[in-house]
Symmetry: C2
Subunit: 354 residues, 2 copies
């Protein structure tokens, strides 16, 4: 096993002291990079890129060649799990992901079982192994999954939705069917993330993209509860180190307190909640990741630097801050603006750390 | 002037006692009603319906013929104001509203002035007058406008956006240009809403649909500040009664405390914040409107009734609750489910009121 040269991210996510704030970007391997667009064109479509471990490794590495990032994140998609469950994932032109066989009934749910990480999902594990080799200890590799609620939203809607009529119809009218679906998804995600950890992921993150569309009571019952089940089921140690677990509910600022009770090490925060407020709400129980508005990257570099300074000041002194955007970097950002963001963190953060 | 037969909504929005909780639905005149779809087909397109006072009156009255609602709301669109400013509003098939001449520069902003309510916007004032005649005192009529930030978002983006790249680019890179735009919009909205009040609107509501995409500091500077300017500029009395003003920021649960400081009488709350929590945050300074998840209306009537009971219990005892959905009713809801919602409020709410 190659020695890890930069462990700033792993330490900050565990609230350990670091000489500066580590930084990475959600969706850092993405369409804002011309080299990504070239590799994707070579792969054909998006899922062909995800399913090719060599090309998935290539796009994972691309942002690290440009920027002094402190972590790599597996290039993949949250819908690999429902795809492996046999729902028939496809991508429509301009409309995003869709499933040929959406889940609408208890009978549909009863047919589902957890996919084998080294079977149907072996291409993800192979990508993790390939990336770890290629990284050669430069920075840690983050694995990830969608949350059960978020995966269920896609699986039941079958395609993008503005009204969530199918999943919320199930939630309010047939909650036992939804619980059965969320349970098989939680068990699937545990196996999937433990598979990634066994293959070499040194940290994992759970993306709860749609938890924020729920009422407070429904969030606890249908999203948070299953993320807690996952946190409890993960292998939290690998290669002699603790594997930090980060939970991120978009628009979940009101629920950070409850999220901090799950046993996660770190919580992602979007830009609609100040980090100062997030620290108050979580009371030192977890590290925090975030939270520059991704739209700041549309501004000129001097303004980006000023906004980075505000995020650092909002978190304030002490360990436990992983700098990131509050959501994924958008395709129309100039790559040099991403560079300005990362450079500002390197320059300005040491005075906030111990 | 005809006597108002049902003033429950006006009293509840001013925190006065009522024997039961008044109820209306955002977008109650809308596509879920077959009679609305028929009138709209007769009008041709959506803006032709808005610009025809007789047909706008007809669709405003339609839900009142079906359901025992406690308020009517003017049928119109928030984009009437930018349309009257000369931006060239049009509706694309399936993509929503767009402008032929979006606002991108200080020079674009400098050309804008507040439209005359009895000039370019006379069709809205005529609709208000027509609806008041037709209502004949049955229930009060609510007028409305978009918030300056929300109008600016559409005007600068020029069309629907997922990334808000143009408006947020302006916010972070040229805030003085955005402030000039928001100022002319605030003055326009004051004249527009005062025009509606003079024409017969007995209450007004400001929809801040996109305030929730801002950071806390940006929300205060670019959205809340201009809503406060509007609240201060409105004529708050008409026909010998106070005209209640309601502010609604979608996804604004974290900012209810600050919103209560604007001088508004009532705040709209979406379903991601419990009314009990909203009451704590606002400490009795304002009435509260909301907040059933509109998706509850996909469930069967017994479940709708149970969820209505939860909303009533969350607000609890005492005056100052206007029942509503947490956002507009969606087009695919069966009309009888809306009826079940309204019936449940009539049946269950008296025990919570004085």
């Amino acid at each position: 096993m190659v020695e890890l040269k930069n462990d700033l991210y792993l330490r900050a996510a565990l609230k350990q002291e670091t000489p500066r704030t580590p930084v990475w970007m959600m969706r850092q391997a993405g369409r804002y990079l011309p080299e990504y667009r070239a590799t994707r064109a070579q792969a054909g479509d998006f899922m062909s890129l995800c399913k090719n471990p060599e090309l998935a490794c290539e796009v994972t590495m691309q942002p690290l060649r440009r920027f002094p990032l402190d972590a790599a994140i597996l290039f993949s998609d949250i819908l690999t799990v429902p795809d492996a469950m046999g729902l028939g994932l496809y991508f429509t032109q301009g409309e995003g992901p869709a499933f040929q066989r959406p889940i609408r009934s208890a009978a549909d749910v009863a047919r589902l079982g957890p996919p084998d990480p080294e079977g149907e999902l072996r291409y993800v594990m192979d990508a993790v192994r390939t990336i770890r080799r290629e990284l050669a200890g430069q920075v840690p590799l983050i694995g990830f999954s969608g949350s059960p609620w978020t995966l269920a939203t896609y699986m039941v809607e079958g395609a993008g939705s503005k009204t969530y009529s199918h999943i919320k119809g199930m939630l309010y009218d047939a909650p036992e069917t939804l619980h059965a679906l969320l349970d098989v998804l939680a068990r699937s995600v545990i196996a999937y993330l433990n598979g990634q950890i066994a293959a070499g992921a040194q940290a994992v993150m759970i993306f709860d993209t749609w938890g924020g569309v729920l009422s407070p009571a429904c969030y606890r019952e249908f999203s948070l509860r299953y993320m807690q089940q996952i946190v409890a089921g993960l292998n939290r140690a690998a290669e002699g180190r603790r594997v930090p677990v980060t939970l991120f509910t978009k628009n979940g600022g009101a629920w950070l307190d409850a999220m901090a009770e799950t046993g996660a090490d770190c919580l992602g925060v979007d830009w609609t909640t100040d980090l100062a407020r997030a620290r108050e709400l979580t009371g030192g129980r977890v590290a925090l990741q975030g939270n520059l508005d991704p739209a700041v990257l549309y501004a000129r570099p001097e303004r980006i630097r000023e906004e980075v300074a505000k995020v650092l000041a909002s978190f304030g002194q002490g360990p436990g801050h992983v700098m990131n955007l509050g959501h994924g970097i958008t395709p129309d950002v100039p790559p040099e603006h991403a560079g300005a963001f990362i450079a500002a963190v390197h320059e300005l953060s040491p005075s906030y750390r111990c």
